[in-house]
Symmetry: C2
Subunit: 304 residues, 2 copies
């Protein structure tokens, strides 16, 4: 019996038809579709469930709404795309809950330029917020997970582990640190960084939603390369373990051949330079951190 | 405290920004969006929840998957559009459940030309299947709920009440009738009829998902017209009550000025002629069925 999302998707694959040439369906941050008039469209969905993805002791309903939209917009960012609009299906919210949830959704929608244009409401015994987001790419090709080559430099757009550290502080006895708690409650999708990376020649990209180690493993498996990390940028207040496996940072990790071109593009757009953390190796079995074996662990979506 | 979906949406409206000119966000079957290159895109979402929208005593998981996609594709049909692709977020399904659910989803996807291109899986204590569908319109403008004028003829694309009758038969002691049970388990979205109606000059359209009376009331409210029904086509095996308020038939109801043009278009495309059931009145307060007051009742989505 499959127990993780990844195992279940592998099991379902035989049921699902293959994408036509030029499109990408399952297996990336967002699906890539041919739209009207030769356009390229992106479509993704992510749901959050009470007690699985959030804990209302540590996050408000407005935070949950913010984060649900952020997780979806981050999938568009990880393709180098920009969002057009979103729809939200909410099950199990009272009318009062809904108003709070929508406060966060609408805040995030305004921040990302991704309006909530439709929705569905229904009764349920627990709160489930399912968001779907539509996007497009402008002037670049969508950046898949599968394009990295041996020798590429690996980058991340920021230090990691803040969200996990925030959750640890919230659920512990210590006085919570504002920045980590803020990052846990209101993470920010890296839209500008994603489209800049695409223009700067990123060949493969993924968002760090489940933890750097597991997300880089996905990129490496899709590309058929290995991973050799020289360093992992740990956010102040976080541990190396949280940076590697905590997830929910929503920074972007990408592979590019030319580090100088990356630096030049980010500088030209007034964005902080992404951090070079290692290289892709030609040997697809390599998983290394500072010469040691990199443990591939992180947030695995369990179905049971 | 708001208790129905409609009341909750009214309450949320002050939070949500207004759609720009030429777009339609909330309040129709699907949102109408400007896409890349001057294209028109449609986006909708509908979720189904175990015990609220389906009962696994009467429908299989494959039926649930079929119906979840059908409800979404029907929203595209009701705009005169065609689907491009869908994404599906499933919460609370075991791996074995998922395979059955996806059998129905993939069947429906093939039937409607609307592939499932992405998804999300998570744990939950009850089964929630949230689908979002992307579509477009070709050669016509999207048909909103709001364009009907006094004097327009009202049509439906088929007889009503079959799904409700099927459910009644399944949950009672009688031997279930195959056709009604089939319509309950595997309703069909009327894509060809929707785009034909758009070409035939339909000025307002809605899908009959919650019951003819309540769905026509929504069309009438959006258009600022009244409803005067001469007749309601009741499917064999169904009652008038089921036809008026049962819902889940997924036939389309639309208003058009020229019945002959409607008949000619449907005949030319080899489709059964829609049934003329009455007229839109200039007085927006009119709700009449064969000269009597039409009770506006149907499936109201309750949040509690």
């Amino acid at each position: 019996m499959a127990q993780t999302e990844r195992e279940a998707i592998a099991m379902l694959e035989h049921l699902l038809p293959k994408a036509p040439r030029g499109e990408t369906w399952l297996g990336d941050d967002a699906a890539v579709l041919g739209g009207p008039g030769g356009s390229t469209l992106l479509l993704a969905t992510d749901a959050v469930v009470d007690g699985v993805h959030f804990d209302l002791r540590w996050s408000s309903l407005a935070d949950v709404g913010w984060k649900a939209l952020t997780a979806n917009v981050s999938d568009i960012a990880a393709m180098g795309g920009e969002p057009i609009a979103s729809v939200v299906a909410v099950a199990g919210a009272s009318a009062a809950d809904l108003e709070l949830l929508y406060e966060g959704l609408v805040d995030a929608a305004a921040t990302y330029g991704c309006p909530v244009v439709g929705g569905d409401l229904s009764a349920a015994t627990e709160l489930v917020v399912s968001v779907a987001v539509l996007g497009t790419v402008r002037g670049v090709s969508p950046v898949l997970r599968s394009g990295a080559l041996g020798g590429d430099t690996l980058f991340v757009t920021g230090a990691l582990g803040r969200s996990a550290a925030g959750l640890r502080l919230l659920s512990g006895d210590q006085v919570p640190d504002d920045e980590c708690v803020g990052a846990h409650r209101r993470p920010v999708a890296r839209l500008e960084q994603g489209s800049c990376a695409a223009r700067a020649g990123a060949r493969a990209m993924i968002d760090v939603s489940d933890g750097l180690a597991i997300d880089l493993d996905r990129l490496a498996c899709a590309s058929g390369v290995g991973i050799d990390l020289a360093d992992v940028p740990v956010a102040p207040g976080a541990t190396l373990e949280e940076a590697l496996t905590g997830g929910e940072d929503y920074e972007l990790a990408f592979a590019a051949a030319d580090p100088e071109r990356v630096a030049a593009h980010f500088a030209a757009e007034g964005l902080a330079c992404p951090l070079a953390i290692g290289t892709c190796t030609a040997d697809p079995s390599t998983r290394r951190l500072r010469g040691e074996r990199l443990q591939v662990a992180g947030y695995e979506h369990r179905l049971d």
